[in-house]
Symmetry: C2
Subunit: 218 residues, 2 copies
């Protein structure tokens, strides 16, 4: 046998010294995310978090730092590029209309997923706020603006390559689509069915088609 060996974990990486964690960090983060998603940042108590994450406060603080840091990490997890419905829809190659339809319809479906709280965490979990959590409100607003900016960029790109007529007012159109999208979150949270949300998407897409037609001079 060779010299002294080091302990390794399942992935072959050397394990840290000391007592090992009794929980999976990502699983716990997902559980925390769902609580924040349902109740919002200020409506969530530490008691709710430790119950959902099945651990005691010191473990939570050891792994995540504070309630606010945990929330920020939960938002990051929710909004990660490979998981964000909006990002995935807008990065989809092909006609811009397909991307916009995916933006609306995939989000609508996600908003009423029976496995998760209804509506979008980024829209719902820190809209009204006390001054202490103003930083979190700003974080979520910047993420909403990021989505809007990505939509604008996608529309501008389409206009540049002929997928959209040059006379289309991209910023106005993006604001309109974001309004509908934000509204879907409220309605999903209020108990709307997928059929209802899809009905809204149908009208929105009909509106898109007509607007593009008109701008083409149809």
């Amino acid at each position: 046998m060779s010299s002294t060996h080091r302990a390794t974990d399942a992935t072959g990486q050397p394990r840290r010294r000391g007592r090992p964690r009794a929980f999976d960090r990502e699983t716990a983060l997902r559980q925390a995310m769902e609580v924040f998603w349902e109740r919002g940042y200020e409506g969530t108590r530490l008691t709710d978090l430790v119950q959902a994450m099945r651990m005691n406060p010191p473990s939570l603080y050891g792994a995540f730092g504070s309630k606010e840091k945990l929330f920020r990490e939960a938002v990051e997890f929710y909004n990660s590029p490979d998981r964000s419905t909006t990002t995935l829809a807008l990065e989809r190659p092909g006609p811009v209309r397909d991307a916009v339809e995916a933006l609306l319809r995939d989000n609508a479906r996600a908003y009423v997923d029976p496995e998760t709280p209804h509506g979008c965490l980024v829209v719902l979990s820190a809209i009204s706020y006390s001054p202490e959590s103003e930083g979190l409100r700003d974080l979520l607003r910047s993420l909403r603006e990021q989505d809007r900016d990505r939509l604008r960029a996608r529309l501008r790109a389409a206009r540049a390559d002929g997928g959209l007529p040059g006379s289309v007012d991209v910023d106005r159109l993006a604001s309109f689509l974001m309004s509908v999208l934000f509204g879907l979150s409220i309605q999903a949270r209020d108990g709307a069915t997928l059929a209802e949300l899809d009905g809204v998407v149908d009208i929105t897409l009909a509106s898109w088609d007509h607007l593009v037609d008109t701008a083409r001079g149809g």
Copy 2:
């Protein structure tokens, strides 16, 4: 002179015995409403309320009962029929399109009124919630549903008297308009200007016109 006289207040009604209130109840209620509007129910502390209302806690409790009762009264005040932009718009006589345009444009203007917090109190002040304030969340949801139902009724009435083609799907159309309206609240809260919101309204009304035209078989 006649027999013993009773004290009367400015409106001629007999004044109550005891030390008179040092504040105007409706003014205080309006001040409380603005705090709730800005910060939401759970984000508002009693300290914030008594500061804004310029009184001490016992006066607040004597006049309004509790934080929750004060919130309910503030919502009632905000949403009173003679003050609710939505109710006023939908009760407006004349073409249904004018009512819908007023619904969107008057609300958009109110949402960015520099004199008040931006967006709609009914949409923003209790969206995410801890179980203790679930009753308030339900109250606001029922008010949102009430507005949607009033819109549906107005559209149905228009369809009945020929103002809308019979083939229009009233419920779907109402959901679409409510989605846009809810979305305007989010965007107003995020700092959108009246011009941006009016742009969204322009597209929505163009969509309305096209939808009605199509249903007419145009």
